[in-house]
Amino acid sequence: MASKVHDIVIVGSGAAGGTLAAHLAHGGVDVGIVEGGPPIDTRTAFNTHALPFHFPNRHIPTMKPGKSGFHSERARGVGGKTLTWNAVAWRFSQRDFKGRTFDGAGEDWPIDYADLAPYYTKVEREIGVCGNRDGLEDLPDGDFLPPVPMKCTDVAVMKGAAKLGVKVIHVRKATLSRPKFGRPSCHFCGNCMAGCDVVAKYNSADVHLRPAMKTGKLTVYSDAVVREVVVNGDNRATGIRYLNRETGSEGEVMGRGVVVCCACVQSVALLLMSKSARYPVGLANSSGHLGKHFIPHLMGGVQCFLREFIGKEPANDEGFLDHAYVPSFMHTRKRDYARSFGVQFNYQNRRSVGWARSLPGFGKQYKESVAARYPAFLTFSPYGEMLPNPKSFIDLDPGQKDAHGLPAARRHVHWGANDLKVFDDMTKWSVRILESAGADILTVSDEPRTNHELGGARMGSDPRTSVVNRFCQTHDVKNLFVVDGSVFPSASEKNPTHTIMALAARTADHIQERLRKGEL
């Protein structure tokens, strides 16, 4: 197996790895893609259509019995987290790329919106993104399929928000609202994040990798947990070493170039583990910045009941989870903090009723009060941008090992003063909007949670303070690239996957050009 030398070895098969592999393979580049988990039959492996009462503990497991894949927090399986994502697909705006210029805090990206715009379009045209062309400067329009109608409860929120001058728009998702590409449109069964079993929702395994394998240029190495990126005496990456997920036996995959796409924390951990005499504190870490500037999204949460829906006939409105969105508005208003927030809402799934325990009383009245509020329940989840700080970083646990005997990655998150101001304001606005829409508030989360892991191998022009350059190429090793959320120098408040895919498509172009010129 080790005798074959691929043009490019990619570690990780999610949004970044899948996009990159497909673009390279279709361009004639010989690619080996290495994935820590098993191949997954998306048609039959997921519990997409199960209900809680099918299980004694009333918890719906992601995989059907006997199917391996997504049992742990770290997604392992061909397709990565695109198999279980919610498919929200925003373009970042120029403000997101130039946060420091815009409000004097955090970092600028070394690229502009214009650099990524053609790649956003390319990705939209090949995977299918539905949405409305809203003409918002801060949320650039793309090449969209028609949007999916809002739910009745979304319309109620939209009208409440409008009274405060706040806009609510249709969500934009990489889920088909019309049949396309030989894939059916969404049928609104309401459980997207359990895995879509008809591929109406994009996943990299079915949409990118399967067609790319038909080129004969793509080899998928599954169940291969990568433990090291190998660099030779000439400071060139020569491939990777892995452990078989089930047997623990060692193997390697060789290439003329290596791209690390294992999703933020795992990518950083892999580079930190890849130590050598030349790189004693981790590969591509001559700056000492690898693992630093960890900036996951900070998330709030409000639960409420819209009064006008209390006691009404329950609707079949799980749809494709959230159908609407509150785009950032505070960036244009007076505020005492840097950055902004957006709100994802109404994505709760009506097959779980965890809020019922929070209503008062017991007995007949209690039971009837839950039933009356069931059609009116709504969640609001504001997402804010975090600024980098020295106490938020990723490192390896010196004591703890994972199931494969590899050092466990640790996440350290500390909220800075600006982060807490963003959190307070986005929580206040969430309550204000919901009350304006006629809601009784049930709970308000008083603590930020993290989601969308970003940063740790940030992109920058200065090799002393960043890990990769504007083409996701590491400053230290010319034929080593990192493409995923870890390269984000600033996080935006917008869901990151579309930007990760656009970066992957751009990196694929760059790698092909370098290969043509014989520079890799």
Binding site: H49, C189, H323, V353, G363, H414
Partner: protein, 204 residues
């Protein structure tokens, strides 16, 4: 493998729970079964954590918290077995439930009855009412906080109040995720195949 998959997908449920797409690109897109009609998980005949007497008390509490009304209640939905299942798998929860049941029986003995279940329904409700009122005052968020945030003050409540909160939470979770709760009582109607998502045509 491909044969097996096709076989699995030939299983077609009742009308309305199966979708047929007119796509030839991949025969697997064509038909897939929605599992909403599958039978609920089996309920074991005997409790594994609770003694027979304790289980009787848990059953009585579940019935009082979510009684049968125009729709079936906690007993028909197998909630006592769900609470037993949880206690079997969570030692801390099991300990609290067991201590709480003993507290209720002690309270009953002060009224001249051997056990809580021997009390008249009105006396049972009168005993639980203040516990419920105190439990409803519990903060929505408890537990430690990280990231440099100030720790929350712990929720201090007597054992019987923490017990009632635990029992009510388990009864609510167990009932509203059961078929009698989710489908019959709340009238969950999702997990279906829709050709399009309907526009809202109401006045809001």
């Amino acid at each position: 493998m491909a044969e097996q998959r096709r076989e699995a997908l030939k299983i077609i449920g009742a009308v309305g729970s199966t979708c047929a797409f007119p796509f030839s690109a991949d025969e697997l897109y064509g038909q897939h079964a929605h599992g909403a009609d599958a039978a609920p998980a089996a309920v074991p005949a005997h409790p594994r954590f609770f003694s027979a007497a304790e289980f009787e008390t848990v059953s009585r509490l579940a019935d009082l918290i979510i009684p049968a009304t125009s729709t079936p209640g906690a007993l028909a939905a197998g909630v006592p077995a769900y609470i037993d299942f949880t206690a079997t798998n969570n030692a801390q929860s099991g300990k609290l439930l067991r201590e709480g049941i003993a507290w209720l029986d002690r309270a009953a003995s002060k009224q001249g009855k051997a056990r809580f279940v021997d009390l008249e329904e009105s006396a049972q409700v009168a005993l639980l009412d203040p516990l419920c009122k105190a439990a409803d005052k519990a903060p929505a968020f408890t537990g430690p906080r990280g990231g440099g945030l100030k720790a929350r003050p712990a929720w201090k409540a007597p054992i019987e109040v923490r017990f009632f909160r635990a029992v009510k939470s388990l009864a609510a979770d167990g009932f509203f995720t059961s078929k009698h709760g989710l489908v019959d009582t709340l009238r969950y109607s999702g997990n279906t195949v829709r050709g399009e998502f309907p526009e809202c045509i109401h006045e809001h």
